[in-house]
């Protein structure tokens, strides 16, 4: 309290904080930041920016990076301003938001379940959110409905998986196996609904079933943006608590935290993020598997890489969408198919590796 300004003297910081950390003080708030995490997150942020510029520049009308930057800030010629701001920016934002949301949700759930396989996509949350979103597209024309319904679907699937897992809770394979079943059922229900409606309605619902960033409704992208912002702030404030998640229940309680509250808050954030992201892009769940992994590859343990996962997810999604748009141009591959092609083999690799080294 006496010294509320960030310390500048190297000697005094050395005695105050553990090796490899710096302390950040803002008024009443004090926290520790890991040097390595700051470096990694800046690097990932740089990658996201590069991928974003590439995504805005590449397309039927090719622009130079400099033209893109000018157009973003309202300078340059009218054509490049139109291409960047009106045609491509919305899609880029949809990609960044969904990638960050899926990946952050994945990281939270993996940590909660203490299992790298336990991402929302694997345990059926994506599919259930999709089924609910599709049902709202099929039955009503209210534009906000898919977001709300996807959230409801995500929550329903989680509650079911939780209920079926029984006493083992979110830890252990029962939760995952129950989730896989729920996901399969939700997928089947989606197919059933699509086969019952006329071709135009089915077409309207199609993007949700494959995972696509093409022409997503602006309202839903903005809702996701708001939700993502809220969840990121919540994660930053709760990182301190979430760092206890890998410990056993006895240790968590012994340190004075509530295991119930920890689970409820991390699970809720994961559901909100997944539900809103599915409402925009459909089930591109494999990002939730690859994103946190990419964030981890950069580092050995220093807490849970929440921010790193969000950045890595955004990067993966933007690059995957860019590949999908350009690889077989003018035919466009949905982003969900690109991530599946990359993510599928990766999933198999994890499964093979799990035999020798279990959990996170």
């Amino acid at each position: 309290m006496m010294n509320s300004l960030p310390t500048t003297s190297a000697e005094s910081t050395q005695t105050k904080v553990p090796q490899g950390y710096v302390s950040l003080t803002l008024g009443q708030f004090t926290c520790l930041l890991d040097h390595g995490a700051i470096r990694r997150n800046l690097l990932l942020l740089g990658l996201v920016i590069l991928a974003s510029i590439a995504s805005l520049a590449i397309g039927t009308v090719a622009l130079s990076p400099w033209q893109v930057i000018q157009a973003l800030f309202g300078y340059g010629d009218a054509l490049s301003q139109f291409v960047v701001q009106d045609l491509r920016l919305q899609r880029l934002l949809a990609g960044i938001y969904t990638g960050a949301a899926f990946s952050l949700a994945g990281c939270l759930m993996q940590t909660l379940a203490r299992n790298r396989l336990a991402t929302p996509g694997i345990i059926g949350i994506d599919n259930a959110a999709m089924a609910f979103a599709v049902s709202s597209v099929v039955s009503t024309a209210i534009s906000i409905a898919p977001s709300a319904m996807a959230l409801a679907g995500a929550a329903t699937a989680t509650a079911l998986a939780f209920g079926l897992a029984g006493s083992s809770g979110t830890r252990g394979y029962r939760f995952i196996v129950a989730g896989i079943g729920i996901g399969a059922i939700a997928g089947a229900i989606t197919q059933l609904m699509l086969s019952q409606v006329d071709i135009d309605t089915a077409n309207a619902a199609y993007p949700w079933t494959v995972g696509s960033l093409s022409a997503r409704p602006e309202l839903m992208v903005n809702i996701l943006g708001g939700g993502l912002f809220f969840c990121l702030i919540a994660c930053l404030l709760l990182t301190h608590l979430f760092s206890l998640l890998p410990f056993s229940d006895a240790v968590i309680t012994g340190l004075g935290s509530s295991t119930k509250w920890l689970r409820l808050s991390s699970l809720s954030l994961s559901i909100i993020l997944t539900g809103l992201a599915v409402a925009v892009a459909g089930p591109v769940g494999l990002v939730a598997l690859i994103g946190p992994e990419m964030a981890r590859v950069f580092a050995r343990y220093r807490g849970i890489p929440l921010i790193g996962s969000a950045l890595a997810g955004a990067f993966i999604m933007v690059v995957a969408d860019l590949i999908g748009r350009t690889l077989l141009s003018p035919i466009e591959l949905p982003v969900g198919i690109v991530t599946s092609v990359v993510g599928g083999p990766y999933l198999i690799w994890i499964l093979m590796r799990q035999r020798s080294k279990s959990t996170i």
Partner: protein
């Protein structure tokens, strides 16, 4: 509600159940302060359950656990964690964590969302590192340590918690003789600094050698308690484990040791 600095821990008419099975019924206990208490007894007698009950991990079905005379389940959990530390049996740590990072988690009850780091945190961590003789290993990964060193790191995490009370569930199980002694001697040092310690121990001679107070349990009940010299008799060993033996005082320390152990043929 605030607790005094030297807090007592005990239970009255404590009943603990696993599902519908009653493990402990109507048990009274009070840990002698600034002493080491060893809870001994055969497998399944409820030692660990009692320890989990005393540390509020296991909620009672009847009776009450009293921390400084107050119902432990009515106190804020963080407040309890500033007075009572627990080292459970299964100690899973996050992958790739270093010794000092593990110890830092012991500071959790003293921190909040706003105040995630304070000068006193580093002091407590440095003290814990020194007390557990881990200063040279503080940047090592936990996975790369020997069993005894790892156990010392976990105890150091409890030391950093700066609690007057420390409960340990089989702190030396799965450790070889040298590492067992390492851990027991650390426990003694902590008790000499004034901590009240309770531990579940399997090895009777170690319990007699390192504890001031023995609590002997069988089938969820305390059958006797007191100083090792007073309570440790061949009759007690017979009743607890169904084995015959003779007891002689250790020529160097005077604490009872078991010799000539044999199974009773029925």
């Amino acid at each position: 509600m605030s607790l005094s600095d030297t807090v007592s821990l005990g239970a009255e008419a404590l009943t603990l159940k696993h599902g519908k099975t009653t493990i402990i019924e109507g048990l009274d206990i009070r840990l002698p302060s600034s002493k080491v208490t060893a809870i001994v007894g055969p497998n399944g007698c409820g030692k660990s359950t009692l320890l989990n009950g005393l540390s509020r991990i296991h909620a009672p079905s009847g009776g009450v656990v009293l921390l400084d005379g107050k119902n432990i389940h009515k106190l804020p959990s963080k407040e309890v964690a500033r007075h009572l530390a627990l080292l459970p049996q299964d100690t899973i740590a996050p992958d790739g964590i270093t010794v000092s990072e593990l110890i830092r988690f012991g500071r959790h009850p003293h921190q909040s969302a706003l105040k995630q780091w304070a000068m006193s945190d580093q002091e407590a961590i440095d003290y814990a590192l020194k007390a557990a003789d881990l200063s040279d290993l503080q940047e090592r990964l936990l996975d790369t340590l020997s069993g005894g060193q790892r156990q010392r790191a976990w105890i150091a995490m409890s030391i950093a918690q700066e609690t007057p009370l420390l409960l340990l569930d089989e702190p030396t199980s799965a450790l070889d003789l040298g590492h067992q002694i390492e851990v027991f001697e650390l426990i003694r040092e902590l008790s000499e600094e004034g901590k009240t310690i309770a531990m579940v121990v399997h090895d009777l001679p170690s319990a007699c050698r390192y504890a001031d107070h023995i609590v002997a349990m069988k089938q969820g009940k305390i059958i006797t308690q007191g100083s090792p010299k007073d309570v440790m008799t061949k009759e007690l060993v017979m009743e607890l484990y169904g084995v015959e033996c003779d007891l002689i005082p250790d020529p160097m320390t005077g604490s009872p040791i078991l010799i000539n152990i044999k199974r009773v043929k029925s």
